[in-house]
């Protein structure tokens, strides 16, 4: 177990380094530069700008400088937002993205497992079919369709909630969190249904029932743990999905998180901001996968690592 933990942690380091290296050279290889949009700068001004941001150095030297900075938690100045460093921008946006993401994961897990369990208990009933077809919707319909449709129906049509925007109040959070959690709710309910059906048929559950334990307690104490495993394994990919989903959500709902930075910064060639957001997202995904795998090995004694 300890060896497995160490090995997984050690793999995270080259992964992160590969992420930084590949992204750095890719974004620097893209045609154009961060100052292309400037109005008629004279060659002298451009040369000064490039020197100030070290863009006149060879790329490998810039890379070394950048990695050195990252090791000291310095992500450099933003090229586009001239008054901010990348760290400041990320610190401003990250709590907002994190709040929405955490709520989405929480709701997806709780709702998905509850709905999936009910569907498994009432297998082949109307509830079951409703859950399954909803599950297919969540799998098949991407976030960039559900969020404008939600805006159209609930924000614009019924006028129950604001269409977009952000003032920190709960009204502005409901629709984006809902849109973000729909795909994982769908997948988790399908997964839970499948594994619960299997778990409910297993011998130890039948024994518990035979000894006179009521259905609710049997489910809670005996069946649920087995039904939980696929969901747990899915949480890693789910978190990655929520991370990419937040790029859409923050764009459609005009939320000032860090999801919107990535696309914007990549098209502006704001090198440091691209790298900053890639590193934050990459680290998040790597840590999430690590934690999920470790939790899985703790819950499922059948899983052995060497």
């Amino acid at each position: 177990m300890l060896r497995y933990f160490l090995r997984r942690t050690l793999i995270a380091i080259p992964t992160l380094f590969a992420l930084i290296t590949i992204s750095f050279f890719m974004i620097h290889a893209c045609p154009g530069g961060p100052f292309d949009g400037n109005r008629k700068a004279t060659p002298e001004v451009m040369a000064n700008l490039n020197r100030a941001y070290h863009l006149d150095e060879p790329v490998y030297q810039q890379f070394g400088r950048y990695v050195w900075g990252v090791l000291h938690l310095d992500f450099g100045p933003s090229f586009k937002y001239r008054d901010y460093t990348v760290s400041e921008l990320l610190l401003l946006g990250f709590p907002i993205s994190l709040e929405i993401g955490l709520w989405a994961i929480l709701i997806a897990t709780a709702l998905g497992m509850a709905v999936g369990t009910v569907a498994a208990l009432k297998q082949n009933s109307a509830i079951d079919y409703a859950v399954m077809s909803f599950g297919m919707t969540g799998v098949a319909v991407p976030t960039f369709i559900t969020s404008p449709v939600l805006q159209l129906a609930i924000g614009d049509g019924l006028r129950w909630l604001p269409v977009a925007g952000w003032d920190g109040g709960w009204q502005h959070k409901i629709l984006p969190i809902l849109a973000l959690s729909l795909p994982p709710v769908a997948v988790i309910s399908r997964l839970t249904r499948g594994s619960m059906i299997e778990s409910l048929r297993s011998n130890h559950v039948r024994t518990a029932r035979a000894k006179g334990l009521g259905m609710p307690l049997t489910v809670l104490r005996h069946a649920l743990l087995g039904g939980l495993l696929p969901t747990l394994a899915y949480l890693g990919p789910a978190i990655a999905g929520i991370v990419t989903g937040s790029v859409v959500i923050e764009r459609t709902f005009s939320i000032p998180g860090i999801g919107r930075y990535f696309v914007e910064a990549a098209t502006n060639r704001d090198y440091t901001l691209v790298m900053g957001s890639v590193i934050v997202y990459g680290t998040l995904i790597i840590i999430a996968n690590l934690v999920v795998d470790l939790a899985y090995s703790l819950v499922d004694p059948k899983v052995r690592y060497d």
């Binding site: 995270a12 992964t15 590969a18 890719m26 893209c30 404008p148 997202y281 990459g282 790597i286």
Partner: protein, 300 residues
């Protein structure tokens, strides 16, 4: 690998592929009994056919603007069955043409991913040892990376265009196929017919190509069918972000993006492309589910 029998026999066991084929035939019979999957095949077939021949049948040009019909609502009598966009272009023909792009990218990028993934997985599994270790550690590293960011950066790097999107998406989503094919290869390579081929002096890469790869097709078809909707989602997503298919060409994602901008006043501009995309993804997922039930030996 030193092979004492190298050159003595060159013919490979010719009937090695037979059992796989009969498995597939059996699987297709099971698929035909799955009503949802059959419905999915019909819906998808209809969509594909409509996108393939539809644009030729609609009496409007996708790029010609009709200044007398700007943002017209859908109507059965006015000529524009699905209405027009804010530039006065017929939405039906743009929707069908966009579907052509989205479906073509979906199928071709999935094929591309299958080719890379199958080759990578089969080689890693067949050669084993240090080669396998290195190739699988590389996959571990790649798995940890945020896919979407790489697709976006690849499209920026290579320029915008259908081919670039295809290569960028296909070049990023082959990992799962590689892992599955490797697993299949590990069990296949202990089978007698592989031993026979080896004894017959076949070169390792030849064995991989003629014996390993054809026998992994069952599992590969299942996951490839899951890849097609995934690619379509990714392509639409890129186009939705403005990084994919560029005007005047269209794809469903680009149309959804334009429709989102106009949804306050002309919701149909959003609902038609969103509906077409959702319907296609639905049918593809039902087909994929059906194929998995029919072909995946694990679930029987």
């Amino acid at each position: 690998m030193t092979d004492p029998f190298a050159g003595t026999l060159s013919a490979a066991a010719p009937d090695a592929v037979e059992p796989a084929r009969s498995n597939v035939r059996e699987g297709l019979a099971r698929l035909r009994r799955n009503r949802l999957a059959v419905a999915g095949i019909f819906v998808f077939g209809f969509m594909a056919l409509a996108c393939a021949v539809g644009p030729e049948l609609v009496p409007f040009d996708p790029e010609t603007q009709d200044y007398g019909a700007i943002s017209n609502a859908p109507s059965l009598t006015g000529g524009h069955l699905f209405g027009t966009d804010d530039l006065g272009r017929d939405l039906l023909v743009r929707l069908l043409l966009g579907g052509r792009t989205s479906l073509a990218i979906g199928i071709l990028a999935a094929l591309f991913a299958v080719v890379i993934g199958t080759g990578y997985g089969a080689v890693a599994g067949f050669f084993g040892g240090a080669v396998d270790q290195m190739m699988m550690r590389a996959i571990d590293v790649l798995y940890g990376l945020p896919f979407l960011f790489f697709i976006i950066m690849l499209t920026l790097l290579l320029g915008r265009g259908v081919l670039v999107i295809l290569l960028a998406i296909g070049g990023v989503i082959w990992l799962t196929i590689a892992v599955i094919v490797r697993g299949q290869t590990l069990s296949l390579k202990r089978k007698d017919f592989i031993e026979a081929a080896r004894a017959g002096g076949m070169r390792p890469l030849g064995i991989v190509r003629h014996h390993i790869v054809p026998n992994t097709f069952g599992a590969v078809i299942v996951y490839a069918s899951l890849l097609v909707p995934e690619v379509i989602i990714n392509e639409s997503f890129l186009s939705y972000l403005g990084l994919g298919v560029q005007e005047p060409a269209s794809s469903w994602g680009a149309l959804i993006d334009a429709g989102t901008a106009a949804m306050d006043t002309q919701p149909y501009q959003l609902l038609f492309p969103a509906g077409a995309l959702a319907l296609t993804l639905f049918s593809l997922n039902f087909i994929a589910d059906g194929l998995r039930d029919a072909l995946d030996p694990k679930d029987r």
